[in-house]
Amino acid sequence: MLGSVSGRHQSPHRGSSVEFAEYRRYQPGDDLRRLDWRAYGRSDRYYVKEFEADTNLRLILVLDASGSMAYANKFDVARQLAATLAYLAIGQGDASGLVSAWDGQYEHMPARRIAGQVEQLFARMERLQPVGDNAVCEAISEFAESTRQRAMVVLISDFLFDLDRLKTSVEHLTFRKHDVVAFHVMTAEEIRPSWDRPVRLQDMEGDESMLVDPEEIRSGYETAVREYLTNIEKLMHRSAVDYHRMMTDDAVEDVLSRFLSARLGDAAR
């Protein structure tokens, strides 16, 4: 993790921590203080001793507050997840910010590690109401374009929009060397609706409605969902996005636990 101050996250740069990393042949311009004279004595060659550098984390939480997130408890779960991540980051001295998108708008709270940042983030999340069109892609692109410092970008959304748009946005982030994590929040009902009779469905992000006969549409719907899930997994994998799908009835702590364990495992390797 690339940070501006020393922190608890491993930096992509070699630094001056106590943890030895490797020997490297001396190159002109290297700090002579880092030459390992014992190694020179043994091999008559100049080696520079490198150590792992620790840095702080900039965590950017991208929270989808579009209308579709209002279905069931998706937004509550998303907020809970975002708040927990922000709290953990700031608690360990990392900077944390928030990008929220709703009804075609988005707002960026820059990442800070100042006192009171958690309260500000919580308050912001508290005020957010899921409504209107989805603007996550626009918010991501804007963030990627405007922020030069690398960060961990955590996308929390139901991703119920065109995957081509998502792909563009995510690739924009990865191109900027951001570490992108995606939490895909879904409900079981969305995957396999339990309609047992014809029902009129009103779009939560628009004015359209559709009269649906379950017998008539069930098979096609499930096929569409399967295709969508397969496609988004492929998209995230190809874009090197750490993708996690969570159902709203999953415990947030379990999801985070799996996520953090995986992260720690990666760091250990």
Partner: protein, 693 residues
């Protein structure tokens, strides 16, 4: 398709219930917010067609099952055009069965069932299905409408049996319509158990025209069912018919030769026609006379074979001996129609010609000539019977209660005004059966009276004129000419026709303008001319035809037998018949007329034309012309199919149940195809859909 309980069809709108419920269900749908519209749009494109089809199929199946249930309640019948009439007939209509028992209907299929039996069984089964147990039956023998006690009685009475009388479908139908008109029936089903045989349908009869009025009167209320019997091509029918039977003219007829004749026998000339569906081959012909049997092979050419004047010697027969009780038959081996495989005849020994004389005044010249040429059976002068010879028998006793009776007479000599009315008809019938009549002019000819278009003119008296006839020359001094269509047989020198002949079927009519009442007349006084004329009339008579006691089965035969007989006994019959149907079945019968008079009568099938096979069929167009009603149901019975159903109609319970079960299974399958998805969604929240990190 028809229904026994038509009122159940009023429930048919109930089949719309699934559709209505479906539509109501759709209208009662709730509205809910939905986030994943993108899946719906995609699914709508992908799966709506098949799902819609399945939904349509489910609805259609439900509708069909409901319809089947209602149909089942309506008790449908399978009978094609038999139609809706069945239901109404079962309730209020009249059912009439016309049964053709004639020869062609006795043709049998490979199981030995005749057309009549199969048709009747089919109708019975149908009526039983419809619940009709007292139909009105008219057959071609009784020709009377009879209300059957029950359906079983149809097969137990004589109407189920064969007869040999020609059928007359037109008369039977007319009888039926007249009966129905008296019953005020408005809904009528007429079953015609007959084939297409033209002689049965009698398409040229004027009755059909009158019947069309009845058919028009009933309109839609009349439904006619007829049968088509498919002939089995593997079975070929043949028929035999005796066309002529006569004693050889070379027989001695004088009394002194009786002993000689008895030893040598008498020669019989027999003519037979055999027709067959088999175009070529040899057919054994069995000729039975008394106890003697002759077998002759005849060769078919083009499906026809004949024997012309085939000589047979009848031993023991004596000319003029009065042995009138011999009989015989000509028969073929039994084939698919045994009713036309034989022909019966009686034999009368060759006898002197028998003449009857009717005159205004006792005519000695005719009486004398009659006794010279043959035997005078009776002599009526001035309307009074003068003499009658008992030996002629057979009712040849002149004017009886029924008018002039000419049974057993070979020639009638009639002097007086030409006959008219019933007498004329009797004489015409006599001629048609082979008799001959010689008319002589009355004293005062009435030009207004005609016989077969010929009438006498006034007498013409002049100088004697020479004429000739049959090679004999003689003089005529008084002639009564006549006008009309007749062939001149002899003329005077000035061309005046005084003798002419008019052929009438097998017999002939002579008009002789000479005076036979005046003793002083040259024609009578010389006698040669009179003899030659009268001898010629006798010569022309088919008196050698020995079949004067042979009649065709039918009403005429029945009337003659019943009218003259005190007792009738079958002598040589192919089947036993009931007393009430005497005259309608072929065979030889012994007819008693009092204590002493017995004679044999041969009755044969009532074919009225030369063609004996039933191949003279009416085509569809001709039948349609005879039955112009809209509702004519044709029931085809295939003679080659051994397992064909008998009934023309049957209830469709089995089929309906199968269809209902199939419909319910299909509906269930179509419904099940989508239900498991719903249940699984409810029970398992889709762990497989969880993301893989």
């Amino acid at each position: 398709m028809s229904f026994l309980r038509v009122e159940a069809l009023w429930a048919l709108p109930l089949v719309l219930a699934p559709l209505i419920i479906h539509l109501l269900h759709r209208r009662r749908h709730p509205t809910m917010q939905w986030p994943a519209m993108m899946f719906l749009y995609q699914a709508t494109k992908m799966r709506r067609g098949p799902a819609k089809l399945r939904r349509f199929l489910v609805l259609a199946t439900r509708v069909a099952v409901l319809a089947l249930i209602i149909f089942a309640l309506a008790r449908p019948l399978s009978s094609g055009l038999f139609g809706i009439a069945a239901g109404r007939i079962a309730d209020t209509g009249k059912t009439v069965i016309l049964i053709d028992r004639s020869t062609s209907m006795q043709r049998r299929d490979t199981l030995g069932r005749s057309r009549q039996e199969r048709g009747l069984a089919s109708v019975m089964e149908t009526l039983q299905t419809l619940g009709i147990d007292q139909p009105i039956v008219i057959d071609n023998v009784t020709m009377k409408p009879i209300v059957a006690a029950d359906l079983d009685s149809l097969t137990q009475t004589s109407i189920a049996k064969a007869a040999d009388a020609r059928a007359s479908i037109d008369t039977m139908m007319m009888t039926a319509f007249e009966y129905l008109a008296n019953q005020d029936a408005t809904l009528v089903d007429v079953w015609i158990i007959s084939d297409r045989n033209a002689s049965s349908w009698n398409p040229d009869a004027s009755t059909w025209e009158a019947m069309r009025r009845f058919q028009d009167t009933y309109g839609e209320g009349l439904r006619i069912h007829r049968f088509d019997f498919e002939a089995n091509a593997r079975q070929q029918n043949s028929s035999v018919r005796l066309t002529d039977l006569r004693w050889s003219k070379n027989q001695p007829t004088s009394e002194p030769s009786q002993q000689e004749n008895a030893e040598q026998g008498v020669e019989l000339l027999l003519s037979v026609v055999v027709e067959s569906e088999q175009s070529q081959g040899t057919v054994p012909l069995n000729i039975k006379i008394g106890t003697t049997t002759h077998e002759v092979d005849v060769t078919l050419t083009g499906g026809k074979a004949s024997l012309e004047n085939y000589p047979l010697t009848v031993p023991g027969m004596v000319t003029g001996s009065g042995q009138a009780n011999l009989y015989g038959s000509v028969s073929l081996p039994t084939d698919c129609n045994p009713a036309d495989d034989d022909w019966y005849f009686t034999l009368s020994p060759p006898i002197k010609p028998v003449v009857a004389i009717v005159s205004e005044q006792p005519c000695d010249a005719l009486i004398a000539m009659g006794e010279v040429i043959g035997e005078v059976a009776f002599d009526i002068a001035g309307g009074k019977l003068q003499n009658s010879t008992a030996s002629t028998g057979d009712g040849a006793n002149g004017a009886g209660q029924g008018g002039l009776q000419l049974d057993g007479i070979d020639s009638l000599w009639w002097q007086g005004q030409l006959p008219s009315g019933e007498t004329a008809k009797t004489i015409e019938s006599f001629c048609a059966n082979g008799g001959s009549v010689a008319f002589f002019p009355p004293a005062l000819p009435d030009t207004a009276i005609q016989f077969q278009g010929v009438h006498w003119n006034p007498w013409e008296t002049g100088e004697p004129d020479e004429t000739s006839f049959a090679g004999v020359k003689f003089m005529l001094d008084q002639v009564c000419t006549f006008d009309g269509s007749a062939v001149a047989a002899s003329t005077l020198t000035d061309g005046t026709v005084w003798l002419s002949q008019r052929k009438s079927d097998r017999g002939s009519v002579w008009f002789c303008g000479a005076n036979v009442t005046d003793h002083q007349n040259l024609f009578v006084r010389q006698g040669l001319g009179l003899f030659s004329v009268l001898a010629e009339t006798i010569q022309d008579v088919d008196r050698q035809a020995v079949r004067n006691h042979e009649v065709l089965a039918g009403d005429d035969a029945a009337k003659r037998m019943i009218a003259t007989a005190t007792q009738i006994k079958p002598v040589l019959v192919p089947r036993q018949t009931s007393d009430g149907e005497m005259g309608y079945h072929r065979g030889v019968y012994s007819v008693s007329m009092g204590e002493t008079q017995n004679r044999n009568v041969a009755i044969n099938r009532g074919a009225d034309d030369d063609r004996q096979l039933d191949d003279r069929q009416l085509d569809d167009e001709q039948l349609a012309a005879l039955l112009p009603v809209r509702s004519v149901n044709v029931l085809a019975l295939d003679g080659a199919n051994l397992t064909e159903p008998q009934g023309a109609t049957r209830e469709l319970w089995g089929g309906l149940w199968l269809a209902m079960i199939a419909g319910l299974l299909i509906e269930g399958w179509l419904s099940l195809a989508s239900r498991p998805a719903t249940s699984s969604t409810n029970s398992t929240p889709n762990s497989s859909m969880r993301g893989q990190s």
